[in-house]
C-alpha cells in the first residue's frame, strides 16, 4: 500500500489573486502531498464536484475578495447536501477576526490568515488529515 494525501486547492468566486494559492500548491507538493489545483473563479458547485471526483482528503479554499463568509460555508453545505461528510474544508485568505467564529460555526475545520507559516499549515495537515480508512 502506498497512501498519499490528496488535497484539492481552489479559489472560489471573483478573485484572480492566486499567488498565495500557487505558493501553497508548491509547498504541498514539496511536503509529499498530491495537490489538485483548479485555478481561479471556481463556483462552489465546481469545487464540490471536483472534490468528489478526485476523492480528496481535504479541500483548501483561498479567497481574497472578501466573499469568504458566503463562499466557504456554501462549499461546506453543498458537500453535506451531496452526502459527503468525510472531506474537511479548510480556508485561508484575508479573513477579519470577526469572521473567524462564524466560519468555524459553519463547519470550516481550520482557517489560516496572513502570517501563518507554510510549515504550520503542513503540520496541521499531517496531524489532522490522516489518510482515509
Amino acid at each position: 500500500m502506498a497512501k498519499k494525501i490528496r488535497i484539492l486547492l481552489a479559489k472560489p468566486g471573483l478573485d484572480g489573486h492566486d499567488r498565495g494559492a500557487k505558493v501553497l500548491a508548491r509547498c504541498f507538493r514539496d511536503a509529499g502531498f498530491e495537490v489538485i489545483y483548479t485555478g481561479c473563479h471556481n463556483t462552489p458547485e465546481q469545487i464540490v464536484n471536483a472534490a468528489i471526483q478526485e476523492d480528496v482528503d481535504m479541500v483548501g479554499l483561498s479567497c481574497l475578495s472578501g466573499a469568504h463568509t458566503y463562499l466557504y460555508p456554501e462549499v461546506v453545505q453543498q458537500l453535506k447536501d451531496r452526502g459527503v461528510t468525510d472531506i474537511p474544508v479548510v480556508g485561508g485568505g484575508i479573513i477579519p477576526d470577526r469572521d473567524m467564529q462564524p466560519l468555524y460555526d459553519a463547519g470550516l475545520k481550520a482557517i489560516f490568515t496572513p502570517g501563518a507559516t507554510l510549515d504550520s499549515i503542513v503540520e496541521w495537515i499531517n496531524t489532522n488529515i490522516a489518510a482515509k480508512e
Binding site: 502506498a2 468528489i52 471526483q53 478526485e54
Partner: protein, 319 residues
Amino acid sequence: MEELGKRALTGDIRAVSRLIRNIEDQVPNTHEAIKHIFPFTGRAHVVGITGAPGAGKSTLTDQLICSIRAKNKTVGVMAVDPSSPFTGGALLGDRIRMLRHADDPGVFVRSLATRGAMGGLSKAVGDGIHVLDVMGKDVIIVETVGVGQQEVDIINHAHTVLVVLVPGMGDEVQAIKAGLMEVADIFIINKADREGARKLYKETLSMMDMGKFPSGWRPPIVMVESNLEPHSFAKSVDELYEKIQEHYKFLYDNNLLQERAQLKVQTEINDALRSAILEPVLNKLIETGEFDQMVQKLLKKETDPYTLADEVAAKYLIK
C-alpha cells in the same frame, strides 16, 4: 471491496472515485473489485492524448469534451501529471483547463500522479480505464504527462492515440526519430497560427511519405489554431473528433480493435503477474532484512546481482 465494484457498475460517482483511489494506493483486495467489473469492460472508445509539456493537451482535451458531448456521448477523463522523484508529491493542474465541465454529470474527470511510473502514465491507468468504462462512459480520454521521445505506454491502453505537436521544437530529424512519432493514429499540429507551423506540417507529411502503413491507416494531420479564437478553435476540434471517430470505425471495420485489445491485455497480464509474483517476494525480502543484506553483499562485491536473483528464484519459485 466487491461492494465497491458493484456500486461502480451502477455509475455511483463516489464509488468510482474511491475505487480509482484504492487502485492508486494499492489498497489490499482492490483486485476483488476489478475481478467483479472486468467481465463488463471493453465497451468504451479509449482515446489517448500525448505530447510535450505545454503542447496544449489539457486545453485540447477540454474542447474535445465539448465536441463529444455535442454528440450526446458521455466522457471520462484521466489526466496524468508527474510526481516529484524527491518528495513523492505532485501538482496536478490539468483540471484547471477543464473546469467548465465540472457541473456536467456526463463528464467525469480524474487527475492522477505518475507515482514513479516511467512510461508517461500512472500504474493506475489500466484499471482506471476499466472503472470509467463500466460506470458507463462512452469515450475515455487518457491524457499523458508531458512526454519526451520515449514515454509511449499509452499505446498499450488506447484505441486511438493523438500526438500533439507544436511548432519550434526541432528540425526534421526529430520527425523521423523512433518513439513518439511512431505511435500516432492522428497528428495534431497545435498552435498552428504560430511561426513554423507550415514547416512542421510539411516535415510531418514527408516523414509519413517515407513510412509504410501495413494496417491501411495513414495518420491524418489536423491543424489547430489558438484557442484565443474560440470559434475556429472549436471548429478545428470538431474536425479532430470526426477523425477520431473515423479511426475507431476503421479499426472496427477491419477487425483491428482486437489487435489493440490484445496489447492492453498483454500489459495487464504482465502487471498482474508482477503484483502476484514479484511484489510479494520483494516485500518478503525487505521484511526479513534479506534485501538489505543483498545490497551490502553487492556493495562489497561478494557476489553479483544475477547470482543473487538466481538464488532468490531457486528459493521462491516452484519449478
